[in-house]
Subunit: 425 residues, 2 copies
């Protein structure tokens, strides 16, 4: 269950916040906007009905999982951030160090730094490694060169490529698809109507998640709950629209930076994923919201000074997990110490996290800094699925509100062209 | 060796860039500003002369290093980010997974999330673990509660605290100091005149670095090279001042967001450290530059769209490592494929990183987006020491240019007060 609390916006100077009726003033746009979103024919909210692909992912995982000690994901941008979000959010925080786990190690290699590639080689055993190569176009130079490198290595070791590579790519064309067929490498499709940053709920995010032993059906069922809200014409039921309207109205009031600040170590991957979604979808025609990923309580000791007393140009989007299975009481081995008196009440780290978040909220509100809270009842597969769909839906609506096409990325095409030219020079 | 290339600023519309003479127009401020910086009596550029402390760190490391398989750093904000920067920058990227290394595992625990604490316990062996507890005041609630938790655990296991804890804290007062003496726990001082975010070159950053087998003398000697520049009254010799002037002049032209984007996986810790330095030092009185940490080439597939075509409100600070010991040629197991023709020239991943960076630079410049490059000849202890000193010096100068006190943080004190009140309620 996910909910949105924006009451703090009513408590601050309306120049920087929103009156109680302000968000609802946009409610008449909703039916038209849902239609407009449909008109783009994007797959991000329909892919989750593709039970055939989900079955194929499950069948593949069943027959392969036990064979590998390491799963390496080769991809960049939207090809990496979806699985990063799911794995960070739903696996043990030190999964790759756990001796008791049956799950393979997972490393997401989303850069071409030679040091990264070289260091990675020191910790993998090729014969027990599966590389998942992910590229929408099938010809992303960063990902293809990574693939060539590891492919050459497995060739040198006389390993059969079909046992060490899987591709996730365009259903029809591209370099990956062409070479896959000859080598009998398994391929999963990225639907044509789904840009990389909207692909977390396709094989791009789900296959790595399942190999990391995450229950992907539960992610999907959470996403479906949020999709119903996303397509609901009633303002009060449509959480993604409500979020988008708040972001938009505050953007119009000069809050052109949105900080996503979850109070949960496991949600750092979600912030990173959202950062691409927001930046690449809306940063066009001189418009756009600049996303910032922050982390509570950590960044209270790094960024809160700026958020409280710097330029008033930010909307802080807190994210709070209401219930965590792990409850840890803070012990007091020094009961004689006066300054630890507060521990007499059996305070937990869970309480302390909440207290920190409330304190940040109070001080921001007192300083007229707009802040809202996305409340997640507990962090699990369903709520992460809900979160992904909520942010994708909100971003689609923001595209309509800002009058930009949320689904293209003309500003990277130019750079890509220059790279190609330099390579061929 | 570190150098600054800002020629791209001259190539763009002067509304968004700088003419060739513009930075130098501020050169007459330099002698007065150096005096002003001295007047704050801050330790960040004098601590590195404290050879006694450095010797103490070395003696401690010599006698303890071999005893531990894990080093856990408990600290938040400036108590964590300095060591994070040094360890990320100078150790193997998968250090904690390396089977061949003699160095202990290092984990920096800079949050109070119960899930993080619980998960950490699954991978450490208390009898072989050293906890470094770092708090400037000696009473930061996040860090003290972490300490109490792990202290209780070691008590339960009948481990002698002096063998499992080290404190880095205020030289005179605070909870940590008081309890240390009774338990014979080793203490290192954080000099009184050094705020957390300026403490990377004290025991705060250096002790964890040395325990991770980094040569801290080389870091110090790099820092000293840059300090000489920082105190040089000649504009052309003073790299930190030059950087600060560029940031300031562009801030005055509406570039109130600074993106630090190194093209090096190992410099992600530096970006995170700088993010606190800039935000907390300058975010005051409604002024301040909002820092963003980005990573090349990865973020070309996440943020470049926004940087190229979104609001023109950012200065992109690239960081480029010119020479890397690790050179990897991209092999071509598919010589028959036309689209891989570019690999005939024995291109390396190193070349590809450079090509990507140049392409980003060209497209930004073409779009009138201000961008500069900090050039690092090679990534090593000395240049990381230089970098830290460069950014600290530039930030001190920025405080003078923006007329804010770079060395306090009034905007977090209020939040801290609310936390204390909530705890005592």
């Amino acid at each position: 269950m996910i909910d949105l609390d924006y009451t703090n916006l009513h408590k601050i100077n309306p120049k920087h916040g929103l009156s109680e009726n302000e968000p609802e003033s946009k409610n008449e746009l909703l039916p038209k906007f849902i239609e407009k979103v449909h008109s783009h024919e994007q797959g991000f909210y329909t892919n989750i009905d593709d039970s055939k692909t989900i079955q194929k992912i499950q069948d593949f995982a069943k027959t392969t999982r036990a064979k590998y000690s390491s799963i390496i994901i080769l991809g960049i941008g939207g090809s990496a951030l979806g699985s990063k979000c799911l794995i960070q959010g739903l696996c043990h925080l030190f999964q790759n160090k756990l001796k008791t786990s049956s799950a393979p190690n997972v490393h997401i290699i989303d850069n071409i730094d030679p040091v990264l590639i070289n260091n990675l080689e020191d910790i993998i055993e090729y014969s027990k490694t599966l590389f998942i190569v992910i590229s929408k176009s099938g010809s992303t130079p960063e990902t293809i060169t990574q693939y060539l490198y590891f492919r050459q290595k497995t060739n040198d070791k006389k390993l059969n490529p079909k046992n060490h590579f899987v591709f996730i790519t365009d259903p029809e064309k591209g370099f990956l698809r062409e070479t896959a067929e000859k080598d009998c490498i398994t391929i999963f499709n990225i639907p044509k109507n789904t840009a990389g940053r909207f692909s977390a709920l396709t094989a791009v995010g789900l296959l790595p998640a399942l190999l990391a032993e995450i229950d992907i059906n539960r992610i999907i069922s959470g996403a479906k709950i949020m999709r119903d809200k996303f397509l609901n014409e009633n303002f009060n039921e449509n959480l993604p629209f409500k979020l988008a309207v708040i972001q938009y109205l505050l953007y119009e009031k000069g809050k052109n930076i949105d900080v996503l600040m979850p109070y949960s170590q496991k949600l750092t991957g979600l912030s990173e994923w959202y950062r691409q979604l927001l930046a690449e979808s809306l940063g066009k025609k001189g418009k756009g919201i600049t996303p910032i990923r922050a982390l509570g309580a950590t960044d209270q000791h790094s960024q809160l000074q700026l958020y409280n007393e710097g330029p008033n140009d930010k909307l802080i989007i807190f994210m709070e997990v209401e219930k965590t299975d792990t409850e840890i009481t803070i012990p007091n081995p020094f009961p004689e110490k006066k300054e630890l008196k507060f521990l007499e009440k059996n305070i937990t780290f869970n309480n302390l996290m909440k207290i920190e978040k409330v304190a940040a909220e109070i001080s921001l509100t007192k300083n007229d800094r707009p802040n809202i809270t996305i409340k997640v009842d507990s962090l699990k597969e369903e709520t992460l699925g809900e979160s992904l769909m909520m942010f994708m839906g909100a971003t689609a609506f923001l595209g309509e509100l800002l009058q930009v096409n949320a689904f293209n990325q003309p500003g990277v095409e130019h750079t890509k062209k220059i790279i190609k030219q330099s390579l061929l020079k």
